[in-house]
């Protein structure tokens, strides 16, 4: 069973079309080439599908780091 971080990493790699980029809990959008505001929306939508959850606009807006994102997902 993959961890939340591993599954989220795959989502980010897929949506940024960058399969080698390293993702840690400290990673923020600015660290990842291709993670712009448009891609952010696609990452949110894909994560909702992957984890079977629904995020509010406020939650999606507040996510700053990958670590924040993992905590948010696990709280659902």
């Amino acid at each position: 069973m993959s961890t939340t971080l591993e599954r989220l990493t795959e989502v980010i790699q897929k949506m940024t079309r960058n399969s080698s980029v390293e993702i840690t809990e400290a990673t923020v959008a600015a660290d990842v080439p291709g993670w712009d505001s448009l891609t952010h929306i696609y990452i949110i939508a894909e994560s909702e599908k992957e984890f079977g959850i629904r995020l509010s606009a406020q939650e999606a807006h507040n996510v700053k780091s990958v670590g924040d994102f993992c905590v948010l997902i696990e709280s659902k």
């Binding site: 505001s37 448009l38 929306i41 696609y42 939508a45 995020l55 606009a57 999606a60 807006h61």
Partner: protein, 550 residues
């Protein structure tokens, strides 16, 4: 083809979806307007712009918000004013050389503060939305280069709740859900492709359990389900849909595994049948496999497989046809007949940008019936020459004339195979050509003992120095192999000789579909050269043809 997206919301998602759903072979370059306002972005286009087409999208909710910020006084003519301003901005863009404009209509919004009489209340947005749409429809009707994108129908089909996404609206100024955005992108591309000539022209129908319920060979005419009762209604609705398509110019054919006389019986005598034998251009019922029967239909119609749609309830037959006929569209019909029509109506199978039915289009089915008879009589004729002589063909030659302009435009639009240069002349260009001193134009009508074919070929020649350059030559494939090409060549040659032009020059620009005419000019005696195909007029006599001038 460079296209500019302009909308009253953020276009980045639509652009992304359009790029994703385009085929790799299509050379569309999508760009986004730099200004937030549609009007401003259109007026900022100038003559140096390299944009070919504009796509304008309006979100109803955003327009409604704009409306709600106005005083009662300013609301009075809001819908009309906004739409007229947009029309003027589009006119400006067209004056800068943009060739096509696609304007999305506006769907109803969910808001109805005035209750059930909201649509009647002029202080509510609904009234103005409808006026906006109407002004834009009128504008598109009178503006050749403008087209509607009927997004309202798309939204109605899946509902506002499924089409919109509140979170995306808040986060990214994007009114539509990601999946509906993809539907919109697919629809936009379908419309643009049909503008480029990629049209479905023919619907091939199976019979048992597709056009009626039951098996005619087993159940007999009185046993099949069609009409007012029970499941018969589902099939009646499919037939009504097919007949409306036929009225519009789509060719209907039958391809069924049945004994022909048995298969034809319901068309002739069943009182509830909507489709009659007259509606069908080519009727094939036998026990051979459907792929070869569709090849036969293709021979009679002389249109390409990728302009055909095949409907069959049997998954096995569908898969055989799909595998053996490259390019044909075979929808995966739902299992239950009551769901056929609803499914078919959402597939945009017969998308078109034609604004009105041209009268000759309506006669097309009859002409194919004549062609099928002719093919049969060709089989019985002793030789091809005897056959052609027996046809008693006569052609009428004229220049481009105003009453023919709509048909001329349509023929340039629809011809793909017998089309030497694939220029798609607009109606404006057609009327300019007709008046030009430097151009010669020809339109050809053909008739024979079986009937009239109508206007079947067009040629545009440009006079340059002492040379007549054949800029465009299209011909309906229905009249192939009749020596019509020779007759047309003679007309061109005669004009060139009369005008004392020393040389004819033919141009062939290859496309994926016009291989048929690759060898046309060499076949007519032209010599290949770096500038195209050349023929010296003084060295040539008219060619033999079986067609007389009427």
């Amino acid at each position: 083809m460079k296209l500019l997206l302009s909308a009253n919301f953020s276009t980045q998602f639509v652009k992304h979806a359009l790029q994703n759903v385009s085929d790799s072979g299509e050379s569309f370059i999508w760009s986004e307007a730099e200004f937030g306002s549609v009007i401003q972005s259109l007026f900022s286009i100038d003559r140096r712009s390299d944009i070919t087409a504009l796509v304008i999208l309006m979100d109803g909710k955003n327009l409604e918000n704009q409306f709600h910020s106005l005083s009662t006084e300013d609301r009075k003519t809001f819908g009309i004013d906004e739409a007229e301003l947009l029309s003027q901005a589009v006119d400006h863009a067209l004056s800068c050389g943009i060739q096509h404009v696609f304007i999305g209509n506006i769907a109803a919004t969910a808001g109805a503060v005035h209750g059930t009489h909201h649509p009647l209340n002029h202080d509510g947005f609904e009234h103005h939305r409808r006026q906006w749409n109407q002004v834009i429809y009128d504008y598109v009707t009178r503006t050749h280069a403008a087209n509607i994108l009927d997004l309202e129908r798309l939204i109605v089909a899946i509902g506002i709740r499924n089409a919109s996404d509140a979170k995306l609206r808040v986060l990214a100024d994007q009114p539509w859900s990601l999946s509906f955005t993809e539907d919109v992108a697919n629809f936009i591309l379908r419309v643009i492709r049909s503008k480029q000539g990629a049209l479905h022209k023919c619907l091939i129908l199976d019979l048992d359990n597709t056009l009626w319920g039951g098996v005619i060979g087993d159940d007999g005419v009185e046993g099949i389900a069609i009409g007012q009762d029970g499941i018969g209604k589902a099939f009646r609705d499919v037939q009504l849909w097919a007949r409306e398509l036929k009225r519009r110019g789509v060719i209907l054919c039958i391809c069924s595994k049945n004994t022909e006389s048995v298969a034809r019986e319901p068309f002739a005598i069943h009182p509830e049948m909507i489709l009659r034998e007259d509606d069908i251009a080519v009727f094939v019922a036998n026990w051979e496999n459907k792929a070869s029967n569709i090849q036969y239909i293709q021979e009679v119609l002389n249109i390409s497989f990728d302009s055909m749609v095949f409907l069959d309830d049997n998954p096995m037959e569908r898969s055989i046809v799909r595998e053996n006929i490259p390019g044909i569209t075979v929808p995966e019909l739902p299992e239950n007949p009551e769901e056929y029509l609803g499914f078919l109506q959402t597939q945009q199978l017969f998308e078109t940008t034609a604004k009105a039915v041209v009268s000759e289009t309506k006669d097309r089915n009859r002409q194919y019936q004549i062609e099928a008879k002719r093919l049969a009589s060709q089989k019985s004729a002793v030789s091809l020459d005897d056959f052609l002589t027996g046809l008693e063909m006569k052609a009428i030659v004229s220049e481009f004339q105003p009453p023919d302009f709509p048909r001329i435009e349509e023929l340039f639009q629809r011809s793909n195979q017998f089309n030497l240069t694939t220029y798609r002349y607009s109606s404006q260009e057609i009327s300019q050509l007709a008046q030009s001193k430097n151009h010669c134009t020809w339109s050809f009508r053909l008739e024979d003992k079986f009937g009239h074919h109508g206007l079947i070929s067009l040629v545009v020649g440009k006079i340059e120095n002492e040379c007549l350059i054949i800029e465009a030559w299209v011909m309906s494939c229905r009249v192939l192999k009749r020596t019509m090409e020779d007759f047309i060549f003679n007309s061109i040659l005669e004009t060139a000789q009369k005008l004392d032009l020393k040389e004819l020059r033919g141009v062939y620009l290859a496309t994926a579909k016009n291989k048929l005419v690759e060898g046309l000019y060499p076949g007519l005696g032209f010599q290949a050269s770096v500038d195209g195909f050349i023929l010296e007029t003084r060295l040539h006599k008219p060619r033999d043809t079986f067609i007389l001038t009427k």
